[in-house]
Amino acid sequence: MRVGQNPAKSIDQVALPARITVAVVCYIPFLSGYYAESLEILKACLGSIWDSTLAPYDLMVFDNGSCPEVKEYLAAMQSQGRIQYLVLSEKNIGKGGAWNFIFEAAPGEVIAYTDSDVSFSPGWLEDTLAILEAYPKAGMVTARPMRSPEQYYSSTLEWAQSNPEVTVDFETFIDWETYRQHIVSLGTSEEQAREWYEARKDYRLTNQGIQAQVGAAHFQFSSYKSALQEFLPFRMDRPMGQVRSLDEQMNAASYLRLCTCRPYVRHLGNQLGGALSQTRDTGAGKRSQGWAELPLVKRLLLKIYDAIFRLYFH
């Protein structure tokens, strides 16, 4: 039976979510073979988010059935207040299933999604938000200039070319090193990358004074939650390989697929190599500790609190 009044009823206000939810999905089933360095890469990914994200945000991590070492690390980060929402799934429900979960549940108006093998640099969120706000019906904004397949950005181009207020430039805007870095990180040879680089050019748009390039990628993107929800649910019967449908559906629904002109994010893949400098433990995102958290004070208060309860309610 209930004895006494639940003191939670006296709480006037609970934590309100930040406007932006940064959401990370990770799946590291073991720490050998393909995944030998994946935990270090996850640490680098989260460290770069903590270091490079200045605007207020909540960090949500969806662990899709990783091994105990990964869960342990994530739980430690959550208990330190560096992850606001940690979702632990005992079984892998697929990337589509994880997307269904986080795109429905993330409390922010804007969801900044990333795979767990991506590093961020300062300015990524500011530039991303500037594009989301300057371009009507912006659906996906990736914080790196991308050359994605044309069939996924035809609506973006159509919108830009039919809108006189939008300037459309078509040149080689992405420099070779930026292009090479990403393509090679996917496991493609440098020769192949060079061939692809020389075969294509880039569309750059200017609207309301904000520049953006045409194209986006689903390894990292930001979007309004309301836009993403139009495309749910995704199929979830395979661990990977079913999320390309977001690119197709966004384009089919005439949402814009855009990217920043500067490379703020970097795909790390499954091997760090010399790709990253060590992430600093800045403590960003830690919950502030009030006076009541001081061990001695807390013990004393808890004792008084407990005594009052026993006296009053028993």
């Binding site: 209930r2 009044q5 003191p7 005992e90 496991g187 019967d237 395979r238 609190y305």
Partner: protein, 338 residues
């Protein structure tokens, strides 16, 4: 850079969720005072849920900003495979805030929500599904008769259904034992309890299926179809446990044309925050094994010193009672401020 092919791309099947998902919200900010037995009671809940549920289900636990000890205990249960999805929220988002997550995200066709102090009895799912089968328009189905009309007479969805052929509005007076148990569970005073013994509960009957259900459903435990759950979010969520916010669920359910219903018999029981011999005995009969309290203790009347007796008598006086309650809540807020 990427070296090799990600084995996850090899076409292995991902986990397919069960038809039934059970979601529990846990908020144990301290292990003292009101919450001194909460963790143990939650363990009892899990034991009864596992023993009393006849179908496979996925279990989601939403930890709504509990203290480190409680969070670690939940983490251990998750590691032990007793929880399928564990959401650890750094902050208390309020009950409605947690519902926003649960109702929006759970992939199961049927979602059973319960507070973290509810005992499940065998037959709860069958009885709930029987009601759902007879009333497919049901949005919330509680597995205990509802004694308290949250909508305060403003609900209309059942009236529209009752106007159709084959349905009728009736009444049901639960047995004294059912009312006693309900009042015991919520710690009702005599004054609060009296009307429950006098007034029959409103019901609706589907004559073709010969199923009668009480009109109304409590927030403590209910089954909600995913389709209905998706329609009611987002709910306003500013307070931890404000009735007005949790009531918005009921209004949205009713306005969407869904019914609030509950079973005639109590298949769930509100354990509250105390452990007693009666609870342990029932738990033993549900789980089929002896239950020994671990951290918590069955409540017993222990002799008190003269000072304690004096303070306790003081605490019963209205003015001091208010003062103690205020001090208690102030301490709670100081200890759990965000």
């Amino acid at each position: 850079m990427r070296v090799g092919i990600n084995p996850a791309k090899a076409g292995l099947p991902a986990y397919t969720p069960q038809r039934l998902g059970v979601a529990l919200i846990v908020y144990i900010p301290v292990l003292e005072g009101y919450f001194q037995n909460s963790l143990e009671i939650f363990r009892y809940q899990l034991a009864s849920l596992r023993a009393a549920t006849s179908q496979e289900f996925d279990l989601l636990v939403f930890n709504n900003g509990s203290c480190p000890e409680a969070s670690a205990a939940l983490e251990a249960l998750y590691q032990d495979g007793q929880i399928d999805w564990l959401i650890q929220s750094a902050h208390n988002l309020g009950k409605a805030g947690a519902w926003n997550w649960i109702f929006a995200a759970m992939p199961n066709e049927l979602i059973c929500y319960a507070d973290s102090d509810v005992l499940f009895r065998p037959g709860w799912l069958e009885a709930s599904l029987e009601v759902l089968d007879a009333f497919p328009q049901a949005g919330m189905i509680a597995a205990q008769p509802n004694f308290f009309d949250v909508l305060e007479g403003e609900g209309t969805a059942h009236l529209r259904l009752a106007a159709q052929d084959g349905y009728s509005l009736d009444e049901f007076l639960p047995s004294k034992e059912i009312i006693d148990e309900y009042c015991f569970g919520i710690g009702a005073s005599e004054e609060t309890a009296r009307p429950f013994y006098q007034k029959p509960l409103p019901t609706i009957t589907n004559h073709a299926k010969n199923v009668q259900a009480v009109i109304g459903a409590s927030h403590m435990q209910f089954l909600i179809p995913r389709e209905a759950a998706r329609q009611v979010v987002p709910l306003p969520a500013v307070h931890a446990l404000l009735r007005r916010e949790t009531m918005s669920l009921d209004y949205k359910i009713d306005q969407s044309g869904y019914l609030h219903l509950s079973t005639l018999q109590p298949y769930v029981f509100h354990m509250g925050n105390t452990i007693n011999d009666r609870l342990l005995s029932e738990l033993q009969s549900i789980t089929g094994r002896a239950i020994q309290p671990e951290g918590g203790k069955a409540q017993k009347n222990t002799p008190q010193s003269g000072v304690r007796r004096f303070m306790a008598s003081l605490a019963r006086r209205p003015r001091f009672n208010r003062l103690f309650r205020r001090l208690y809540n102030l301490l709670f807020q100081a200890l759990n401020s965000e």
